[in-house]
């Protein structure tokens, strides 16, 4: 193991666990190389100081209540709840109109069949969703 590799392994030893073999080789190198040993001591001192210095405080006990108050003051618009339904209906409408123009059948039959298919699809989706909500 050369000095560059040893310094890299030293850093990795502070990132997490080193393999047993890497650790053995690193220790062997550090005994023979005062420069790397000094670098290791410096990293160790730095690690201890950072551990002492960087400690996370926890959120205050009133955090949730304060957040709830802010949420109550700015309720989400009801329309967002219905957005998927609106998207479904708009999409179905656009699809039916395309079919009216593209299919070689009378416009009124395409309109009727399209509306029927969209309504069945929507009902099926709503039933499925409400049965899932009851679970």
């Amino acid at each position: 193991m050369d000095c560059q590799e040893a310094k890299e392994k030293l850093q990795e030893s502070f990132d997490g666990a080193l393999s047993l073999e890497d650790r053995r080789q690193l220790e062997k190198h550090l005994i023979a190389c005062p420069g790397c040993a000094q670098f290791g001591e410096l990293l160790n001192a730095l690690d201890l100081r950072l551990k002492e210095a960087i400690r996370a405080p926890r959120l205050s006990p009133g955090f949730r209540a304060a957040l709830q108050t802010r949420i109550d003051r700015r309720p989400r618009g009801l329309w967002t709840h219905w957005l998927p339904d609106v998207a479904y209906l708009v999409g179905s409408g656009a699809g039916i109109l395309c079919c009216v123009y593209l299919l070689p059948f009378s416009a009124s039959s395409v309109l009727w069949i399209g509306t029927l298919v969209a309504a069945i699809g929507y009902s099926f989706q709503t039933l499925l969703l409400s049965s899932l909500e009851e679970l």
Binding site: L46, R49, I54, A56, L59
Partner: protein, 170 residues
């Protein structure tokens, strides 16, 4: 890595209140620590954590499942912190001379010297090394929170340690 399949399922069923409650339980402290690593002061970090969860509440119906929920939440968190920083930097540029003493709850208030050294690091290195110690030294967590590959986190961490060691030596 934390799985949020139950929250995904609740969102699919449009049960936003319950989904939001679960996300709060799981992530409020993590988001707070992420905010703390960026804004550096506990009071402001708590304030910005509220802003982040308020935005999350508003945005939940628009979650499309393309990214993992945690990734999406951390993105909202980082963007909110940086946009607050941008607003505040305009204010501090004007009032920097009259700046008050650091408040009692700054994370590094008892360790002025190491704080000063950290301040001299490039922003990304400072954030990575701060979060690394805030998150019980988990590179995986830091990578997820900053949306960086683990290798990149390691390399920022190594550079930061080397720079700090050089500063301590000189």
């Amino acid at each position: 890595m934390m799985k949020d399949e139950d929250v995904d399922e609740l969102l699919r069923r449009r049960r936003y209140e319950r989904a939001f409650g679960l996300l709060l339980d799981r992530y409020q402290e993590k988001v707070f620590r992420l905010a703390l690593s960026i804004v550096k002061e506990a009071g402001r970090a708590e304030e910005v954590t509220q802003d982040i969860f308020l935005k999350l509440w508003q945005a939940l119906p628009f979650y499309d499942g393309r990214a993992a929920l945690s990734t999406w939440l951390y993105t909202i968190a980082r963007n909110t912190c940086y946009s607050m920083f941008r607003k505040e930097s305009i204010r501090t540029a004007v009032t920097i001379e009259g700046r008050a003493e650091p408040s009692r709850d700054e994370i590094l208030s008892q360790h002025a010297e190491i704080k000063e050294l950290l301040e001299r690091l490039p922003t990304v290195q400072r954030e990575v090394i701060t979060l690394f110690y805030l998150e019980d030294q988990s590179i995986q967590d830091v990578a997820q929170m900053l949306d960086l590959p683990q290798g990149t986190v390691k390399s920022h961490l190594h550079r930061a340690r080397r720079a700090l060691a050089d500063m301590m030596r000189s």
